[in-house]
Amino acid sequence: MPLALITPNLKPLKPLMFKPKVAFYWCASCGGCEETVVDLAEDILGVVEKVDIVLWPVAMDFKYKDVEAMPDKSILATLLNGAIRSTEQEEMARLLRRKSQYMIAYGACAHLGGIPGLANQFTREHILKFNYEDGPAMANEKKTRPQLVTEENGRTPRLPALTNVVRSLDQVVEVDYYVPGCPPTPKITRAAVTALLENRLPPKGSVIAPDIALCDECPRKATKPANISFREFKRPHQALMDPQKCFLAQGVVCMGPSTLSGCEAACISGGMPCTGCFGPTSRVRDQGLKIMSSLCSNLEPKDEQGISAVLQGIPDPIGTFYRYGLARSLLRRKVNLPTD
Protein backbone atom coordinates (compact mmCIF):
# COMPACT_ATOMS: atom_id res chain seq x y z
CA MET A 1 0.00 0.00 0.00
CA PRO A 2 1.66 3.24 -1.02
CA LEU A 3 2.04 5.82 1.68
CA ALA A 4 -0.21 8.27 -0.11
CA LEU A 5 -3.10 5.95 0.37
CA ILE A 6 -2.91 6.04 4.08
CA THR A 7 -4.05 9.63 4.35
CA PRO A 8 -7.11 9.71 2.16
CA ASN A 9 -9.51 11.93 4.05
CA LEU A 10 -7.63 15.01 4.93
CA LYS A 11 -9.26 17.46 7.17
CA PRO A 12 -7.98 20.94 6.32
CA LEU A 13 -6.59 22.49 9.44
CA LYS A 14 -6.38 26.19 9.89
CA PRO A 15 -3.69 27.63 7.61
CA LEU A 16 -0.24 28.07 9.04
CA MET A 17 0.31 31.75 9.41
CA PHE A 18 3.70 31.63 11.00
CA LYS A 19 6.74 29.47 10.66
CA PRO A 20 5.69 26.55 12.77
CA LYS A 21 7.65 25.60 15.87
CA VAL A 22 8.91 22.05 16.11
CA ALA A 23 10.62 20.25 19.00
CA PHE A 24 12.72 17.09 19.00
CA TYR A 25 13.36 15.29 22.24
CA TRP A 26 14.89 12.01 23.25
CA CYS A 27 14.11 9.89 26.23
CA ALA A 28 15.20 6.27 26.81
CA SER A 29 16.68 5.60 23.42
CA CYS A 30 19.94 4.75 21.75
CA GLY A 31 20.19 7.90 19.68
CA GLY A 32 19.50 6.11 16.46
CA CYS A 33 16.30 8.02 15.97
CA GLU A 34 18.20 11.29 16.14
CA GLU A 35 20.44 9.93 13.43
CA THR A 36 17.47 9.39 11.18
CA VAL A 37 16.52 13.00 11.39
CA VAL A 38 20.01 13.85 10.32
CA ASP A 39 19.80 11.15 7.68
CA LEU A 40 17.13 13.12 5.94
CA ALA A 41 20.30 14.64 4.48
CA GLU A 42 19.48 17.47 2.16
CA ASP A 43 15.89 17.25 3.11
CA ILE A 44 16.73 18.28 6.63
CA LEU A 45 17.71 21.63 5.31
CA GLY A 46 14.33 21.98 3.74
CA VAL A 47 12.74 21.15 7.00
CA VAL A 48 14.94 23.49 8.92
CA GLU A 49 13.99 26.22 6.51
CA LYS A 50 10.31 25.67 6.93
CA VAL A 51 10.22 25.31 10.68
CA ASP A 52 11.52 26.90 13.74
CA ILE A 53 13.23 24.24 15.85
CA VAL A 54 12.64 25.24 19.44
CA LEU A 55 14.20 22.26 21.18
CA TRP A 56 16.70 19.68 19.95
CA PRO A 57 19.09 18.73 22.74
CA VAL A 58 21.28 16.61 20.50
CA ALA A 59 22.05 19.45 18.14
CA MET A 60 21.11 22.74 19.70
CA ASP A 61 21.29 24.37 23.07
CA PHE A 62 17.92 25.02 24.68
CA LYS A 63 17.05 24.74 28.30
CA TYR A 64 14.08 23.30 30.14
CA LYS A 65 13.15 26.72 31.34
CA ASP A 66 13.03 27.99 27.75
CA VAL A 67 10.40 25.48 26.91
CA GLU A 68 8.59 26.03 30.15
CA ALA A 69 8.36 29.67 29.34
CA MET A 70 6.52 29.08 26.08
CA PRO A 71 2.79 29.42 26.00
CA ASP A 72 0.81 26.16 25.97
CA LYS A 73 0.25 24.70 22.49
CA SER A 74 2.73 27.07 21.00
CA ILE A 75 4.76 24.23 19.49
CA LEU A 76 3.16 22.70 16.42
CA ALA A 77 4.63 19.27 16.99
CA THR A 78 7.02 17.45 19.23
CA LEU A 79 8.76 14.42 17.79
CA LEU A 80 9.72 12.48 20.88
CA ASN A 81 11.81 9.34 20.64
CA GLY A 82 12.68 6.85 23.33
CA ALA A 83 10.74 5.03 25.97
CA ILE A 84 9.79 6.68 29.23
CA ARG A 85 11.65 5.20 32.14
CA SER A 86 12.81 8.04 34.36
CA THR A 87 11.17 10.87 36.21
CA GLU A 88 13.01 13.38 34.06
CA GLN A 89 11.75 11.80 30.85
CA GLU A 90 8.25 11.67 32.16
CA GLU A 91 8.36 15.25 33.26
CA MET A 92 9.64 16.38 29.88
CA ALA A 93 7.01 14.33 28.10
CA ARG A 94 4.31 16.00 30.11
CA LEU A 95 5.79 19.44 29.59
CA LEU A 96 6.14 19.00 25.84
CA ARG A 97 2.69 17.54 25.60
CA ARG A 98 1.35 20.68 27.17
CA LYS A 99 3.29 22.95 24.93
CA SER A 100 2.53 21.06 21.67
CA GLN A 101 -0.43 20.77 19.38
CA TYR A 102 0.75 17.40 18.17
CA MET A 103 2.68 14.85 20.15
CA ILE A 104 4.36 12.40 17.85
CA ALA A 105 5.86 9.18 19.19
CA TYR A 106 8.90 8.83 17.04
CA GLY A 107 10.54 5.43 16.72
CA ALA A 108 9.86 2.06 18.22
CA CYS A 109 10.78 3.02 21.80
CA ALA A 110 8.28 5.84 22.03
CA HIS A 111 5.77 3.82 20.02
CA LEU A 112 6.06 0.45 21.75
CA GLY A 113 8.58 0.76 24.56
CA GLY A 114 11.19 -0.70 22.25
CA ILE A 115 14.32 -2.48 23.39
CA PRO A 116 14.31 -0.61 26.74
CA GLY A 117 10.89 -2.15 27.29
CA LEU A 118 12.55 -5.55 27.72
CA ALA A 119 13.62 -4.22 31.11
CA ASN A 120 10.03 -4.84 32.16
CA GLN A 121 11.11 -8.41 32.83
CA PHE A 122 13.17 -7.22 35.80
CA THR A 123 12.86 -5.04 38.86
CA ARG A 124 14.58 -1.70 39.05
CA GLU A 125 16.76 -3.05 41.85
CA HIS A 126 17.77 -6.02 39.75
CA ILE A 127 18.79 -3.74 36.90
CA LEU A 128 20.77 -1.37 39.09
CA LYS A 129 22.47 -4.21 40.87
CA PHE A 130 23.48 -5.83 37.62
CA ASN A 131 24.71 -2.64 36.08
CA TYR A 132 26.61 -1.32 39.04
CA GLU A 133 27.63 -4.50 40.84
CA ASP A 134 27.18 -7.84 39.11
CA GLY A 135 27.76 -7.04 35.46
CA PRO A 136 30.68 -8.94 33.97
CA ALA A 137 32.46 -5.75 32.90
CA MET A 138 31.85 -3.99 36.17
CA ALA A 139 34.75 -2.84 38.34
CA ASN A 140 33.04 -1.18 41.23
CA GLU A 141 34.43 -2.61 44.40
CA LYS A 142 32.70 -0.12 46.58
CA LYS A 143 29.44 -0.89 44.87
CA THR A 144 28.81 2.77 44.40
CA ARG A 145 25.52 3.60 42.82
CA PRO A 146 24.24 6.87 41.46
CA GLN A 147 22.37 8.78 44.14
CA LEU A 148 19.27 10.81 43.49
CA VAL A 149 20.60 13.56 45.71
CA THR A 150 24.25 14.16 46.55
CA GLU A 151 26.06 16.73 48.62
CA GLU A 152 29.16 18.04 46.87
CA ASN A 153 31.01 21.25 47.46
CA GLY A 154 28.02 22.74 49.07
CA ARG A 155 25.86 21.97 46.07
CA THR A 156 23.16 19.34 45.95
CA PRO A 157 22.87 18.02 42.39
CA ARG A 158 19.85 15.86 41.79
CA LEU A 159 19.54 12.96 39.39
CA PRO A 160 16.31 11.71 37.89
CA ALA A 161 15.00 8.42 39.30
CA LEU A 162 14.42 5.32 37.20
CA THR A 163 10.79 4.34 37.20
CA ASN A 164 9.76 0.80 38.10
CA VAL A 165 8.09 0.34 34.77
CA VAL A 166 9.30 1.20 31.30
CA ARG A 167 6.52 2.83 29.32
CA SER A 168 5.70 3.70 25.78
CA LEU A 169 4.98 7.38 25.29
CA ASP A 170 1.24 6.90 25.04
CA GLN A 171 1.20 5.20 28.41
CA VAL A 172 2.32 8.53 29.87
CA VAL A 173 0.73 11.23 27.73
CA GLU A 174 -1.75 11.36 24.91
CA VAL A 175 -0.10 10.72 21.56
CA ASP A 176 -1.43 11.98 18.25
CA TYR A 177 0.70 10.05 15.79
CA TYR A 178 3.22 7.31 15.77
CA VAL A 179 6.20 7.13 13.48
CA PRO A 180 7.30 3.51 13.77
CA GLY A 181 10.61 1.82 13.37
CA CYS A 182 13.92 1.20 15.01
CA PRO A 183 14.77 3.65 13.75
CA PRO A 184 12.10 5.09 11.47
CA THR A 185 13.35 5.04 7.92
CA PRO A 186 14.09 8.37 6.24
CA LYS A 187 11.18 7.69 3.91
CA ILE A 188 8.74 7.27 6.76
CA THR A 189 10.16 10.30 8.54
CA ARG A 190 9.90 12.39 5.42
CA ALA A 191 6.34 11.29 4.89
CA ALA A 192 5.46 12.19 8.43
CA VAL A 193 7.12 15.57 8.40
CA THR A 194 5.68 16.39 5.01
CA ALA A 195 2.22 15.42 6.10
CA LEU A 196 2.63 17.62 9.13
CA LEU A 197 3.91 20.62 7.28
CA GLU A 198 1.52 20.26 4.39
CA ASN A 199 -1.28 19.85 6.83
CA ARG A 200 -2.35 16.52 5.38
CA LEU A 201 -2.69 14.61 8.60
CA PRO A 202 -4.40 11.25 8.92
CA PRO A 203 -6.92 10.58 11.69
CA LYS A 204 -5.55 11.01 15.16
CA GLY A 205 -3.86 7.98 16.65
CA SER A 206 -2.58 6.74 13.33
CA VAL A 207 0.68 4.95 12.86
CA ILE A 208 2.37 6.52 9.90
CA ALA A 209 2.86 3.32 7.98
CA PRO A 210 0.69 1.19 5.73
CA ASP A 211 -1.68 -0.92 7.83
CA ILE A 212 -0.56 -4.15 6.25
CA ALA A 213 2.07 -6.65 7.32
CA LEU A 214 5.60 -6.59 6.01
CA CYS A 215 5.27 -9.66 3.78
CA ASP A 216 3.34 -7.43 1.41
CA GLU A 217 6.50 -5.61 0.40
CA CYS A 218 9.02 -8.31 1.22
CA PRO A 219 11.36 -9.16 -1.67
CA ARG A 220 11.31 -12.79 -0.61
CA LYS A 221 7.52 -13.06 -0.51
CA ALA A 222 7.26 -15.28 -3.56
CA THR A 223 9.59 -17.86 -2.05
CA LYS A 224 7.33 -18.65 0.87
CA PRO A 225 5.57 -21.95 0.26
CA ALA A 226 1.83 -22.26 0.77
CA ASN A 227 2.25 -25.39 2.88
CA ILE A 228 4.66 -24.23 5.52
CA SER A 229 5.08 -26.63 8.41
CA PHE A 230 7.74 -26.15 11.05
CA ARG A 231 9.81 -29.15 12.00
CA GLU A 232 12.37 -27.05 13.83
CA PHE A 233 13.25 -23.45 14.50
CA LYS A 234 16.75 -22.16 13.92
CA ARG A 235 18.33 -18.89 14.73
CA PRO A 236 20.07 -17.04 11.88
CA HIS A 237 23.55 -17.84 13.10
CA GLN A 238 22.80 -21.54 13.38
CA ALA A 239 22.55 -22.30 9.69
CA LEU A 240 23.74 -21.23 6.30
CA MET A 241 20.91 -19.11 4.99
CA ASP A 242 19.66 -19.02 1.46
CA PRO A 243 19.80 -15.28 0.70
CA GLN A 244 16.80 -15.42 -1.61
CA LYS A 245 14.42 -17.56 0.35
CA CYS A 246 11.78 -16.57 2.89
CA PHE A 247 13.23 -16.88 6.39
CA LEU A 248 10.24 -18.78 7.71
CA ALA A 249 10.61 -21.26 4.88
CA GLN A 250 14.11 -21.83 6.27
CA GLY A 251 12.82 -22.33 9.81
CA VAL A 252 14.02 -18.97 11.08
CA VAL A 253 11.60 -16.87 13.10
CA CYS A 254 10.69 -13.77 11.14
CA MET A 255 8.22 -11.30 12.62
CA GLY A 256 7.32 -9.94 9.20
CA PRO A 257 3.86 -11.50 9.00
CA SER A 258 2.75 -9.67 12.13
CA THR A 259 4.67 -6.44 11.69
CA LEU A 260 3.63 -3.31 9.85
CA SER A 261 5.29 -2.69 6.53
CA GLY A 262 6.76 0.58 5.39
CA CYS A 263 10.43 -0.14 6.07
CA GLU A 264 10.77 -1.67 2.60
CA ALA A 265 12.01 -4.84 4.28
CA ALA A 266 15.29 -3.23 5.14
CA CYS A 267 16.48 -5.98 7.47
CA ILE A 268 15.51 -8.74 5.09
CA SER A 269 17.34 -7.01 2.29
CA GLY A 270 20.27 -6.91 4.67
CA GLY A 271 20.08 -10.63 5.25
CA MET A 272 18.37 -10.66 8.62
CA PRO A 273 14.83 -11.59 9.50
CA CYS A 274 12.30 -9.01 10.67
CA THR A 275 12.30 -8.56 14.43
CA GLY A 276 9.11 -6.55 14.56
CA CYS A 277 10.16 -2.93 15.18
CA PHE A 278 7.25 -1.38 13.27
CA GLY A 279 4.78 -2.95 15.66
CA PRO A 280 1.48 -4.68 14.99
CA THR A 281 -1.28 -3.82 12.58
CA SER A 282 -4.31 -1.94 13.86
CA ARG A 283 -6.23 -5.21 14.04
CA VAL A 284 -3.89 -6.81 16.53
CA ARG A 285 -3.70 -6.07 20.23
CA ASP A 286 -0.60 -8.04 21.04
CA GLN A 287 1.98 -8.47 18.34
CA GLY A 288 3.99 -11.14 20.14
CA LEU A 289 1.02 -13.38 20.86
CA LYS A 290 -0.22 -13.09 17.33
CA ILE A 291 3.00 -14.14 15.66
CA MET A 292 3.32 -16.90 18.22
CA SER A 293 -0.18 -18.09 17.39
CA SER A 294 0.62 -18.11 13.72
CA LEU A 295 3.94 -19.90 14.01
CA CYS A 296 2.74 -22.50 16.51
CA SER A 297 -0.38 -23.29 14.51
CA ASN A 298 1.87 -24.39 11.71
CA LEU A 299 4.08 -26.75 13.67
CA GLU A 300 4.34 -30.21 12.23
CA PRO A 301 3.99 -32.46 15.30
CA LYS A 302 0.64 -33.18 16.87
CA ASP A 303 1.78 -34.75 20.12
CA GLU A 304 2.85 -32.88 23.20
CA GLN A 305 6.41 -34.12 23.20
CA GLY A 306 6.97 -33.44 19.54
CA ILE A 307 5.49 -29.96 19.84
CA SER A 308 7.59 -29.18 22.85
CA ALA A 309 10.73 -30.35 21.04
CA VAL A 310 10.14 -28.00 18.11
CA LEU A 311 9.37 -25.11 20.44
CA GLN A 312 12.72 -25.64 22.16
CA GLY A 313 14.09 -23.94 19.06
CA ILE A 314 12.71 -20.69 20.45
CA PRO A 315 14.55 -20.52 23.75
CA ASP A 316 13.48 -16.99 24.66
CA PRO A 317 9.95 -16.36 23.47
CA ILE A 318 9.65 -13.04 25.26
CA GLY A 319 12.86 -11.69 23.75
CA THR A 320 11.88 -13.09 20.37
CA PHE A 321 8.25 -12.10 20.07
CA TYR A 322 8.33 -8.96 22.22
CA ARG A 323 11.70 -7.55 21.18
CA TYR A 324 10.15 -4.11 20.79
CA GLY A 325 6.62 -4.58 21.99
CA LEU A 326 6.83 -5.81 25.58
CA ALA A 327 5.87 -2.52 27.24
CA ARG A 328 2.88 -2.16 24.95
CA SER A 329 1.85 -5.84 25.15
CA LEU A 330 -1.30 -6.90 26.95
CA LEU A 331 0.59 -7.62 30.15
CA ARG A 332 3.13 -4.79 29.79
CA ARG A 333 5.47 -6.15 32.41
CA LYS A 334 6.29 -9.37 34.21
CA VAL A 335 3.31 -9.33 36.50
CA ASN A 336 4.79 -10.81 39.64
CA LEU A 337 7.51 -8.19 39.98
CA PRO A 338 7.18 -5.85 42.92
CA THR A 339 7.30 -2.11 42.70
CA ASP A 340 9.19 -0.16 45.33
Binding site: A69, T163, R167, S282, M292, I307
Partner: protein, 186 residues
Amino acid sequence: MSDSTNKTPDGKWTPRIVAFFCNWCTYTAADLAGVSRMKYASNIRVIRLMCSGRVDPQFVVDAFAKGADGVLIGGCHPNDCHYVEGNYKCLRRYQMLKRMIADMGIEPDRLRLEWISAAEGEKVRRVVNEMVETVKQLGPLNIPCKFEEWDKEMEALAGHVAHSQSAAGAACPDHAKPQTAQTAHV
Protein backbone atom coordinates in the same frame (compact mmCIF):
# COMPACT_ATOMS: atom_id res chain seq x y z
CA MET B 1 -11.13 -0.05 37.21
CA SER B 2 -12.63 0.56 40.59
CA ASP B 3 -12.67 -2.89 42.13
CA SER B 4 -11.05 -5.43 39.98
CA THR B 5 -10.73 -8.09 42.61
CA ASN B 6 -13.51 -10.60 42.57
CA LYS B 7 -15.06 -10.52 45.94
CA THR B 8 -18.29 -12.10 46.98
CA PRO B 9 -20.63 -9.76 48.81
CA ASP B 10 -19.34 -11.12 52.12
CA GLY B 11 -15.90 -9.83 51.17
CA LYS B 12 -14.17 -13.15 50.54
CA TRP B 13 -12.04 -13.56 47.48
CA THR B 14 -13.14 -16.23 45.10
CA PRO B 15 -11.43 -16.95 41.82
CA ARG B 16 -12.76 -15.99 38.45
CA ILE B 17 -12.11 -18.47 35.72
CA VAL B 18 -12.75 -17.63 32.09
CA ALA B 19 -13.32 -20.68 29.94
CA PHE B 20 -13.18 -20.96 26.18
CA PHE B 21 -15.16 -24.02 25.18
CA CYS B 22 -15.54 -25.41 21.71
CA ASN B 23 -19.10 -25.63 20.52
CA TRP B 24 -19.14 -29.28 19.59
CA CYS B 25 -17.49 -31.09 22.45
CA THR B 26 -16.81 -29.17 25.61
CA TYR B 27 -19.65 -26.65 25.42
CA THR B 28 -22.03 -29.52 24.75
CA ALA B 29 -20.49 -31.47 27.61
CA ALA B 30 -21.13 -28.50 29.88
CA ASP B 31 -24.73 -28.52 28.67
CA LEU B 32 -24.84 -32.21 29.48
CA ALA B 33 -23.51 -31.56 32.96
CA GLY B 34 -26.41 -29.15 33.31
CA VAL B 35 -29.00 -31.53 31.98
CA SER B 36 -27.59 -34.15 34.36
CA ARG B 37 -27.82 -31.62 37.20
CA MET B 38 -24.21 -32.15 38.21
CA LYS B 39 -23.01 -29.57 40.67
CA TYR B 40 -19.77 -27.68 40.33
CA ALA B 41 -18.11 -24.46 41.38
CA SER B 42 -19.77 -21.31 40.07
CA ASN B 43 -16.52 -19.45 39.41
CA ILE B 44 -16.42 -20.31 35.76
CA ARG B 45 -17.57 -18.06 32.91
CA VAL B 46 -17.83 -19.90 29.64
CA ILE B 47 -17.29 -18.18 26.32
CA ARG B 48 -18.39 -20.29 23.40
CA LEU B 49 -16.23 -20.59 20.32
CA MET B 50 -16.80 -22.92 17.43
CA CYS B 51 -13.50 -24.73 17.91
CA SER B 52 -10.57 -24.72 20.29
CA GLY B 53 -8.60 -23.75 17.19
CA ARG B 54 -10.33 -20.36 17.39
CA VAL B 55 -8.71 -19.65 20.75
CA ASP B 56 -6.43 -16.75 19.97
CA PRO B 57 -3.64 -16.48 22.57
CA GLN B 58 -4.65 -12.84 22.78
CA PHE B 59 -8.00 -13.94 24.26
CA VAL B 60 -6.28 -15.87 27.01
CA VAL B 61 -3.86 -13.13 27.96
CA ASP B 62 -6.53 -10.46 27.64
CA ALA B 63 -8.65 -12.45 30.10
CA PHE B 64 -5.75 -12.49 32.56
CA ALA B 65 -5.10 -8.81 31.97
CA LYS B 66 -8.75 -8.01 32.65
CA GLY B 67 -8.80 -9.84 35.94
CA ALA B 68 -9.23 -13.57 35.37
CA ASP B 69 -7.48 -15.71 37.94
CA GLY B 70 -7.47 -18.68 35.66
CA VAL B 71 -8.26 -19.59 32.08
CA LEU B 72 -9.58 -22.95 30.98
CA ILE B 73 -9.66 -24.08 27.38
CA GLY B 74 -11.82 -27.03 26.43
CA GLY B 75 -11.70 -28.83 23.12
CA CYS B 76 -12.47 -32.14 21.51
CA HIS B 77 -10.20 -35.10 22.16
CA PRO B 78 -7.30 -35.70 19.75
CA ASN B 79 -8.62 -37.23 16.52
CA ASP B 80 -12.14 -36.14 17.45
CA CYS B 81 -12.13 -32.49 16.49
CA HIS B 82 -15.29 -31.54 14.68
CA TYR B 83 -13.04 -29.54 12.39
CA VAL B 84 -10.53 -32.35 11.96
CA GLU B 85 -7.55 -30.78 13.71
CA GLY B 86 -8.31 -27.42 15.24
CA ASN B 87 -7.56 -28.95 18.61
CA TYR B 88 -3.98 -29.72 17.60
CA LYS B 89 -3.45 -26.13 16.62
CA CYS B 90 -4.79 -25.14 19.96
CA LEU B 91 -2.44 -27.55 21.70
CA ARG B 92 0.59 -26.19 19.86
CA ARG B 93 -0.19 -22.60 20.79
CA TYR B 94 -1.07 -23.64 24.30
CA GLN B 95 2.33 -25.15 24.91
CA MET B 96 4.15 -21.99 23.89
CA LEU B 97 1.61 -19.83 25.66
CA LYS B 98 2.22 -21.70 28.88
CA ARG B 99 5.91 -20.88 28.60
CA MET B 100 5.22 -17.28 27.76
CA ILE B 101 2.85 -16.60 30.62
CA ALA B 102 5.31 -18.29 32.95
CA ASP B 103 8.01 -15.96 31.67
CA MET B 104 5.63 -13.09 32.29
CA GLY B 105 5.18 -14.11 35.90
CA ILE B 106 1.84 -15.91 35.72
CA GLU B 107 1.84 -19.37 37.28
CA PRO B 108 1.39 -21.78 34.37
CA ASP B 109 -1.20 -23.75 36.35
CA ARG B 110 -3.56 -20.84 35.91
CA LEU B 111 -3.95 -21.92 32.33
CA ARG B 112 -5.32 -25.35 31.57
CA LEU B 113 -6.26 -27.13 28.39
CA GLU B 114 -8.56 -30.13 28.62
CA TRP B 115 -10.04 -32.39 26.02
CA ILE B 116 -13.66 -32.97 27.00
CA SER B 117 -15.98 -34.80 24.67
CA ALA B 118 -19.69 -34.09 24.36
CA ALA B 119 -20.44 -37.09 26.53
CA GLU B 120 -18.16 -36.09 29.37
CA GLY B 121 -20.37 -33.90 31.50
CA GLU B 122 -18.77 -35.47 34.51
CA LYS B 123 -15.35 -34.38 33.28
CA VAL B 124 -16.56 -30.79 33.03
CA ARG B 125 -17.60 -30.99 36.64
CA ARG B 126 -14.31 -32.50 37.72
CA VAL B 127 -12.07 -30.23 35.69
CA VAL B 128 -13.89 -27.06 36.74
CA ASN B 129 -13.75 -28.07 40.37
CA GLU B 130 -10.08 -28.99 40.12
CA MET B 131 -9.29 -25.79 38.31
CA VAL B 132 -11.05 -23.70 40.94
CA GLU B 133 -9.20 -25.59 43.65
CA THR B 134 -5.85 -25.07 41.93
CA VAL B 135 -6.48 -21.37 41.46
CA LYS B 136 -7.66 -21.00 45.03
CA GLN B 137 -4.35 -22.48 46.14
CA LEU B 138 -2.50 -20.01 43.95
CA GLY B 139 -4.50 -17.08 45.25
CA PRO B 140 -5.66 -13.97 43.41
CA LEU B 141 -3.78 -12.95 40.28
CA ASN B 142 -5.49 -9.63 39.89
CA ILE B 143 -3.52 -8.05 37.11
CA PRO B 144 -5.78 -4.94 36.83
CA CYS B 145 -4.73 -4.03 40.36
CA LYS B 146 -1.11 -4.52 39.40
CA PHE B 147 -1.56 -2.10 36.53
CA GLU B 148 -2.96 0.41 39.00
CA GLU B 149 -0.14 -0.21 41.40
CA TRP B 150 2.47 0.21 38.68
CA ASP B 151 0.93 3.46 37.54
CA LYS B 152 0.97 4.93 41.01
CA GLU B 153 4.50 6.20 40.33
CA MET B 154 3.10 8.16 37.42
CA GLU B 155 0.29 9.64 39.42
CA ALA B 156 2.83 10.75 41.99
CA LEU B 157 4.89 12.42 39.35
CA ALA B 158 1.85 13.89 37.63
CA GLY B 159 1.05 15.58 40.89
CA HIS B 160 4.59 16.87 41.22
CA VAL B 161 4.66 18.11 37.63
CA ALA B 162 1.33 19.83 37.96
CA HIS B 163 2.65 21.55 41.04
CA SER B 164 6.01 22.65 39.66
CA GLN B 165 4.68 23.65 36.26
CA SER B 166 1.65 25.46 37.52
CA ALA B 167 3.54 28.72 37.41
CA ALA B 168 3.97 28.38 33.69
CA GLY B 169 0.28 28.36 32.95
CA ALA B 170 -2.90 26.42 33.43
CA ALA B 171 -2.34 22.69 33.13
CA CYS B 172 -4.26 21.08 30.37
CA PRO B 173 -6.27 18.35 32.00
CA ASP B 174 -6.88 16.53 28.73
CA HIS B 175 -3.27 15.96 28.07
CA ALA B 176 -2.34 14.96 31.56
CA LYS B 177 -4.20 11.74 31.18
CA PRO B 178 -2.33 8.91 29.56
CA GLN B 179 -4.10 6.88 26.99
CA THR B 180 -5.10 3.52 28.25
CA ALA B 181 -7.04 2.41 25.24
CA GLN B 182 -5.28 0.83 22.32
CA THR B 183 -4.36 3.49 19.86
CA ALA B 184 -6.26 3.35 16.64
CA HIS B 185 -4.21 3.12 13.51
CA VAL B 186 -5.25 4.23 10.10
